[in-house]
Amino acid sequence: MTQASGVHLAATAPSAAAPSVPGAADDDRAMLRLLNVESAYGPIKAIRGVSLTVRQGEISTVLGSNGAGKTTILKTISGIIDPRKGSIAFKGVDITAQDPAKIVKHGLSHVPEGREVFALLSVLDNLLMGAYTRKDRDGVARDLETVFGYFPILRERRDQEAGLLSGGQQQMLAISRALMARPDLILLDEPSLGLSPKLTREIFEIVVRINREQGTTILLVEQNANMALNAADYGYVLENGRIVMEDSCERLREKEDIKEFYLGLKNDGVRGERRWKKKKMWR
């Protein structure tokens, strides 16, 4: 998506004029594609026509403030909420409004906001719950070793109740539990929620490692724009249920609006301090 061209010529046969599918130019690598998805809670529309693409092997991120609709997007993808309109395709198959369990079997895991580990089960049992749909015992044992490799603390506390873990450890457990299903795509909902900056950094480092080493595609939803933009390859900015901007994270980091509204960088102006915000232009 180039910003420079300014205008687009429409005059002749419109179909030939431009790539009409937004989000991504190269469709071959699209692992997940949302088209015009609209979800609502009763009369309140939470997302209003979201189209986005997550490419295979990449980390994509959706940024947005409280209530922008980030979590709703993830819930709609994993089938917890059925969309009112639009379609969702995962690995080329339409999964719109399918049963969540089927979607998991299809290779998509959701790490919910606020961890949601099974508090009364042991750490190990939590992890095995993640592998519930799998039949390959050897594979499960191997993957258990892999996640213990990423998060050694979970091995140490494998027999403790998950509810006794710290917030950061629970987040690690939630991510590991998702990995145990051997998913092709992980939906990661605000892994930084309630964590210290140091712990957040650690978790993000491992998320990137998982992506690089396991080749797992990740769709990350975050309020911590700084972390997300550094970890991810491609980003979407969501506002009031609409995507207002999309680009590679590298380019997003350079945009004025992102700097001011998401990274908290702004020039202080003539007085050396500034309280007012410039108008959002999203360009």
Partner: protein, 621 residues
């Protein structure tokens, strides 16, 4: 309750003729007469606050005395850089009461423009709304040696500010209170010394080409216009009006604020530009003046909401509007409305039209007034079909507001009405330009005698730059801006604004610029209405991720093509728009492409998008 067949509600109101030959004299006379009546309301943090005439007068007095304490001399200039808020008007009246000259600056202007306007107007004091506006002035104050004082209305975020040049409006009022004890009667003396021929306000034209020009208005012309307006706009102290257009613009300043000083109508200031529709619903103004953009927005809001409603509602609405439309036809052609039709209309109102009027907030409106830009006649018919009279007024900064208007009972969509009773209007026999003469015509452009001489000829006729016609009954019609008339390569004269208005009537098109001067055919640059086009895309599952990709999708291109085709069907072949392109950035008032009133600037757009325009003419298809 207004009905289209009964114009009794629109007769001139028996207002008390306030004495006074200057704007401040009118204000002080009004304040003495109306004392505890509420004059202004403003919504702040969700609550409507009100100002009585006495309270407003007291604050104007304090601000005025504060200005005197700063050594503000008669004839000196003050600029006001703020959105439309109560303080804007209070400050304006204080400056005028001191015998000073006030000049408004659009809050959307950037620092360099603020610099130009302060320098050109030779302002010694500038009033700013808040920290955001203050920063613009601080950025350029080194280049404004004549500027002595900056006064801030809202000090939020500036409590710790220590700067000898900056003070809050509250501090200025406090200074004024103390100063007036030592100098009682000084402000009144200054106000009484103000003469009708003194310069009162500077209104900068929006400057679609080149630098803005400061139109000078004297008290005499302003007071004359305000008195004259009463014959055109039937309003009195019982009326509720909205205040939301920029006060730097002549429409809100003279037609809104100053006319309300004279008539006593209440001014209701909206909370912010985003809450206009909601605030209008809350107030339900009885006289509602707005620019076509607002009418278009309200209309398309209803039409789009309708698409989401059930078939029964849609059918009832269509029937109701059909009945309303038949009444419009009867009334416009001067035929009486039959009893059966009246009965149907009352039923239609009960079933559906009253609700639509309530949703729009026009259910108490005796009259709607549109002006300041061309409007589609179909849009006027739509409001008439709801049973609310809509008048069109035409005028410009240089005519101090309306120069022609729709006479009550003789609505003719497409015509700008007859000459207002207080000025002469005629058509130049050679150029067909509309000329205006009268005491309301401005006193010239500040510092620009050449431009003034171009605008006002030796006989005192103002050359408006609008080209038009007049019929036997004195109804004027605008064909276009003189400089905008397109002569195609084939030699055909085409008036782009008619085509543009037809395009804008589409709920999917916000604004358009038609191009074709010295070209083989016509093309257009089109700005889409984001909300409505998004909804269209959603309903048809057209994928898009953001504004730019929305404008690029084939379906949206086709949608706009259909709208262009609709317009093309109604015009001759040479007047058809053969190609167009959609602006793919979402423009705001801060962008140079738009005027503060959100109109596309033709010349600027043509220059900025020269590349894409050229390629429309290059390709052969």
């Amino acid at each position: 309750m207004s009905n289209l067949w009964n114009f009794n509600t629109l007769r001139e109101r028996s207002t008390v003729d306030l004495p006074g030959e200057t704007i401040p004299a009118l204000f002080w006379a009004g304040a003495r007469l109306r004392t505890d009546q509420v004059w202004m309301r403003q919504k702040k943090l969700g609550l409507w606050r009100s100002w009585t005439w006495t309270q407003a007068a007291q604050q104007v007095e304090e601000i005025g005395n504060g200005l005197l304490s700063l050594g503000f001399a008669a004839g000196e200039r003050a600029s006001i850089l703020s959105n439309t808020v109560v303080e804007w008007l209070l400050t304006d009246l204080a400056v005028l009461s001191c015998g000073g000259v006030s000049s408004g600056i659009y809050p959307t202007d950037a620092a360099p423009q603020v610099h130009y306007l302060c320098e050109d107007s030779d302002s010694v004091v500038i009033f700013v709304e808040d920290d955001e506006q203050l920063d613009k002035v601080l950025e350029v104050r080194d280049q404004l040696p004549r500027l002595r004082q900056i006064v801030v209305f809202d000090m939020d975020g500036l409590r710790t500010m220590q700067d000898p040049m900056v003070m809050s409006l509250d501090a200025l009022r406090e200074r004024g209170r103390q100063w007036s004890q030592a100098h009682p009667g000084a402000l009144k003396a200054r106000c009484d010394a103000c003469q009708p021929d003194d310069l009162a306000i500077l209104v900068y034209t929006s400057g679609t080409t080149g630098k803005p020009k400061g139109a000078m208005h004297r008290h005499r012309g302003l007071v004359y216009s305000v008195r004259g307006l009463s014959a055109v706009v039937p309003q009195d102290a019982q009326d509720e009006r909205m205040a939301f257009l920029p006060l730097c613009h002549i429409v809100e300043r003279v037609g809104g604020a100053y006319h309300s000083i004279y008539t006593g109508a209440r001014l209701n200031f909206v909370e912010n530009p985003q809450t206009i529709p909601e605030n209008v619903r809350e107030i339900a103004p009885t006289v509602f003046a707005a620019v076509p953009r607002v009418w278009e927005k309200l209309y398309s809001g209803v039409m789009i909401a309708l698409k989401d409603s059930g078939w029964l509602q849609q059918a009832t609405f269509a029937w109701g509007m059909g009945v309303g439309g038949r009444i419009v036809e009867q009334v416009l052609s001067g035929r009486p409305v039959g009893a059966w039709l009246k009965f149907q209309f009352i039923l239609a109102r009960l079933l559906v039209l009253n609700n639509v009027r309530k949703i729009l907030g026009i259910h108490r409106a005796r009259v709607l007034i549109t002006g300041a830009a061309p409007i589609s006649p179909d849009l006027i018919r739509w409001y008439l079909a709801l049973g609310v009279p809509m008048f069109e007024a035409w005028g410009m900064t240089e005519t101090c507001g309306a120069a022609t208007s729709t006479p009550p009972g003789q609505i003719r969509p497409g015509s700008i009405g007859q000459a207002a009773p207080y000025n002469e209007v005629r058509i130049d026999p050679v150029t067909s330009e509309i000329l205006v003469r009268g005491p309301n015509v401005f006193a010239g452009y500040l510092n620009l005698p050449d431009k003034t001489a171009e605008a006002i000829d030796a006989q005192g006729w103002l050359h408006t730059g609008d080209v038009g016609t007049v019929d036997a009954e004195g109804f004027y019609r605008i064909t276009d801006r003189m400089k905008d008339i397109i002569i195609t390569a084939g030699g055909k004269n085409i008036t782009p604004s008619e085509l543009e208005n037809d395009l804008k009537f589409s709920p999917y098109i916000t604004d358009a610029v038609v191009i074709g001067d010295r070209r083989p055919f016509l093309t257009a640059i089109i700005m889409i209405d984001q909300d409505n086009v998004e909804k269209f895309a959603q309903d048809r599952e057209v994928p898009f991720s953001n504004y730019a990709s929305l404008t690029r999708s084939a379906e949206v291109q086709q949608l706009i093509q259909d709208e262009v085709d609709r317009v093309n069907r109604s015009v001759a072949r040479v007047e058809q728009i053969k190609k167009f392109f959609l602006l793919d950035t979402q423009l705001t008032a801060e962008d140079e492409e738009l005027t503060p009133t959100m109109k596309l600037k033709r010349k600027l757009v043509e220059a900025k998008y020269a590349g894409p325009i050229e390629s429309m003419y290059r390709s052969t298809t």
